[in-house]
């Protein structure tokens, strides 16, 4: 999000959109085309005749003027020769702004990430090159009241998934805006990013540990309110009510709704710098941890001891972002500092030797710090520090340091290389095949084609 992508080629949109949608949308409309086409050509001919007429008039006047000039008469001031009528409207631009049946097709874009990653110290199954994700975006206004944004992601194995698909109601009164459908929950900053818009190749460990391999995403509704009377500061409250399939911090039962409240403020410090603070509270229900299910299974008590899947689970988040972008040279230099902290407070059950369950509360923490400096139009360098526990285990802890270099030949392409060192304590290493220390390298190439909507600030 640090870069304000601007995707300009509507022509691509028209071309690509027409191919994909010709079968459905275009052909259905074909029956209606002839009268419209005829109307258009008549209008066009009329316009051309009008244009020729005015050109003829202009020529005639010019000939008259020349004739008078050749007669050698000095025209008195009062008789300045008549000129053609002023300011005839210039002809419309050749690229029509109403481009036939494709004009209502959504803006289409496609992004993919080719990732190569490998560990220096260990043979891991996931190492190697892969097309980690391809995303198709369809975005359009529905009617005067709503717009739809839809992103379909194809994973490394080819499975397709609706990453986000929501309708936004933009014309509500009182500074309100509502969203419904599937969307990334407004937890902090990074959770809302699509993978191709990350600062680094991988997600910060805290997000992976607390939300899983994907963002915290919900199916439901979201209401956002732009708080009035705050001067030039932007203060927004977002309330999400959603079913989440997240089984890392929550129980993934869709009838146990996730309630989330996010309040953020963006302050303009100088014309070159902004500071954003945000706070999030997400409340859901938690289920048994993998370790507990395993322990019950090991004790041969499966079916006898039934752990609760409706335990209290709360997540709290804090996010801070400082951005420096000199207005005059904002495409050449910038600094981004971002930090997020996530705290989880959840009830957990544990199996006692007597074959009964006791309840306890686990408080665990995670977070990251990211600093990025853009030192040339196409070059950015960043450092990230991760420190995170796990929502079901506050004794497991991993820390990581990453360095990333981002190269953007244009706004439509990015190449990244990242080095990452991870260190884990015993409890955390237990979750990662016993790997305590790992050094990894990631390489990523992200091209974007089509009309991808500009990203948020």
């Amino acid at each position: 999000m640090s870069i304000a992508h601007s995707w300009k080629s509507h022509a691509f949109k028209f071309a690509a959109a027409s191919i994909i949608f010709a079968a459905g949308h275009g052909l259905c409309r074909a029956a209606e085309e002839p009268p419209r086409a005829a109307d258009e050509s008549v209008t066009q001919m009329r316009a051309e005749i009008e244009e020729l007429k005015s050109q003829l008039r202009a020529l005639k006047d010019q000939v008259d003027a020349l004739a008078r000039a050749q007669a050698g008469t000095t025209t008195p001031v009062a008789q300045v020769p008549a000129a053609p009528p002023p300011a005839p409207q210039p002809p419309p631009a050749p690229v029509s702004r109403a481009g036939g049946s494709t004009v209502f097709n959504p803006a289409m874009s496609a992004v993919f990430q080719g990732i190569g990653n490998g560990s220096f110290n260990h043979n891991r199954d996931g190492d190697g090159f892969s097309l980690s994700e391809a995303e198709i975006g369809l975005q359009a206004v529905v009617d005067p009241y709503a717009r739809v944004d839809m992103f379909i992601a194809f994973g490394a194995e080819g499975e397709a998934e609706v990453e986000e698909a929501y309708v936004t109601f933009q014309t509500l009164p009182g500074g309100l805006q509502a969203k419904a459908g599937r969307f990334k929950d407004a937890f902090g900053k990074w959770n809302l990013l699509h993978n191709h818009a990350f600062f680094t190749v991988d997600r910060p460990n805290a997000l992976t540990n607390f939300f899983g391999e994907e963002s915290l995403t919900g199916d439901g509704a979201s209401l956002s309110w732009l708080v009035p009377g705050t001067g030039s500061a932007f203060v927004e409250s977002v309330t999400d009510i959603a079913s989440t399939g997240n089984d890392v911090s929550f129980n993934a039962r869709r009838r146990d709704l996730l309630l989330l409240e996010h309040v953020s403020s963006v302050f303009t410090l100088t014309s070159n710098a902004t500071f954003e603070t945000g706070g999030t509270w997400a409340k859901g229900r938690g289920g048994p941890s993998e370790a507990l299910t395993q322990a019950i299974d090991d004790a041969g008590l499966t079916g006898t001891v039934v752990p609760s899947d409706r335990l209290a689970a709360n997540l709290f988040g804090v996010d801070l972002t400082y951005k420096w972008k000199p207005v005059q040279f904002n495409v050449y230099r910038s600094v981004t500092l971002q930090a997020e902290g996530i705290a989880s407070r959840r009830r957990v059950e544990s199996l006692q030797p007597g074959g009964f369950l006791t309840r306890d509360t686990v408080n665990s923490f995670g977070g990251y710090l990211y600093a990025e400096y853009q030192f040339a139009k196409r070059w950015r360098a960043g450092l990230r520090y991760d420190d995170s526990e796990f929502p079901d285990d506050d004794s497991a802890r991993e820390r990581a340091a990453s360095a990333v270099l981002r190269i953007q030949p244009t706004e439509f392409e990015e190449f990244r290389i990242q080095f990452k060192h991870t260190g884990r304590n015993d409890a955390a290493a237990f979750r990662f095949d016993g790997i305590q220390s790992d050094n990894e390298v990631f390489i990523e190439w992200i091209p974007v084609i089509g009309a991808h909507a500009a990203h948020k600030y």
Partner: protein, 351 residues
């Protein structure tokens, strides 16, 4: 119940008192937010005291790459009118701003979202298939149309219409101010003498159809062609018609057409693509012919390439603003063109 009633009375009293106070206050100004300073400047010319006009970008910013900061959404929330340059110039930052502003009237396509390019005769609209292999192309044509001051007349009409619709009580004043602005604009473009003699509208009409030059050459007044009476911005640059220049970005097309500049090359190999060493060598070779008089660049682009070209070719580099506020002297749309024409004429004369 009683508390409720007293509360109701209290609210009623407060609101009546409030409206009385408002009644005494001066009428609320029309809150105009423009994306770019040139549009805001024209809105101030047309709107006068009835209008509060501000722009999101400053003149020192590249209009293609403004950051859609949330504070702009706060400003847009209470905007009565949003003036945009259009032709996709602001595609990277206006959509996120209007989507976040919670102001349904300024969403694209809504009544108070004013696309000032609507009636402009657009140059360089690409025909045929478009591809980003050509760089950052604008699919609807060159969006930098306000570098031709005659287009300001069209924009002023657009703005006056929108203001009159928004504030019908001021309709007459807006029309009066618009007419006055156009009159001053014509005088500034053609010079007061010719303007009074022939009439600004007629001159503007001739200029728009490309017939002004032949008209001025062939029309004799008091034994001399009218061309000798051309003053103003056009008069200032007329002696240097056809002067060859290099510009950084393809943003001088309208200016060049109006004032007779010949833009032979761009520092950017393709729009939005920074110059490679190879391209700079090619330009240096082109400059070797010795017919180019100056390199024109922008306050917000890198200096390295232009400095290098200047050093190799010994040509002067002019850093000229495209927008009001892009230089300390360019405080409004008139002063902007005073600055542009004066500086270009000075360098062209010096060469």
């Amino acid at each position: 119940m009683r508390t409720l009633r007293s509360l109701l009375i209290l609210i009623l009293t407060a609101s009546t008192g409030g409206s009385l106070l408002v009644g005494a206050a001066p009428p609320k100004k029309v809150n105009v937010v423009a994306t770019l300073p040139n549009l805001a400047s024209i809105a101030r010319e047309v709107g006068g005291e009835r209008v509060d006009a501000m722009s999101i970008a400053t003149g020192l910013q590249d209009a293609h790459f403004v950051d859609p900061k949330p504070s702009y959404m706060v400003r847009l929330r209470s905007a009565d009118l949003l003036l945009v340059n259009g032709l996709d110039l602001e595609i990277g930052w206006v959509p996120p701003l209007t989507q976040g502003a919670r102001n349904a009237r300024i969403l694209p396509g809504a009544q108070d979202h004013i696309d000032c390019s609507a009636r402009i005769g657009v140059m360089e609209a690409p025909s045929g298939p478009l591809t980003r292999a050509a760089g950052d192309v604008h699919p609807y044509g060159n969006p930098h149309y306000l570098t031709d001051p005659l287009n300001a007349e069209i924009v002023a009409a657009e703005i006056a219409e929108a203001l009159a619709r928004k504030d019908p009580a001021g309709a007459q004043e807006y029309e009066k101010r618009r007419a006055d602005f156009v009159k001053r604009l014509h005088a500034a473009i053609f010079g007061p003498e010719l303007n009074d003699l022939v009439g600004g509208s007629k001159l503007a009409g001739l200029a728009l159809t490309g017939e002004l030059d032949s008209y001025l050459k062939t029309t004799m007044v008091d034994g001399a062609p009218l061309a000798s009476r051309l003053g103003g911005w056009m008069g200032r640059l007329r002696p240097y018609a056809g002067v060859k220049v290099i510009t950084y970005h393809k943003d001088y097309s309208y200016f060049a057409r109006r004032f007779g500049l010949d833009v032979v090359e761009f520092v950017e190999p393709k729009p939005g693509i920074p110059p490679s060493a190879k391209h700079l060598v090619e330009i240096t070779e082109r400059l070797g012919r010795g017919d180019v008089k100056m390199i024109i660049t922008r306050p917000y682009v890198e200096h390295r390439s232009t400095d290098l070209l200047a050093e190799k070719s010994r040509l002067p580099v002019l850093t000229l603003p495209l927008e009001v506020g892009g230089a300390p002297e360019a405080t409004d749309y008139f002063k902007l063109f005073d600055l542009l024409t004066t500086q270009i004429a000075a360098v062209a004369a010096g060469g």
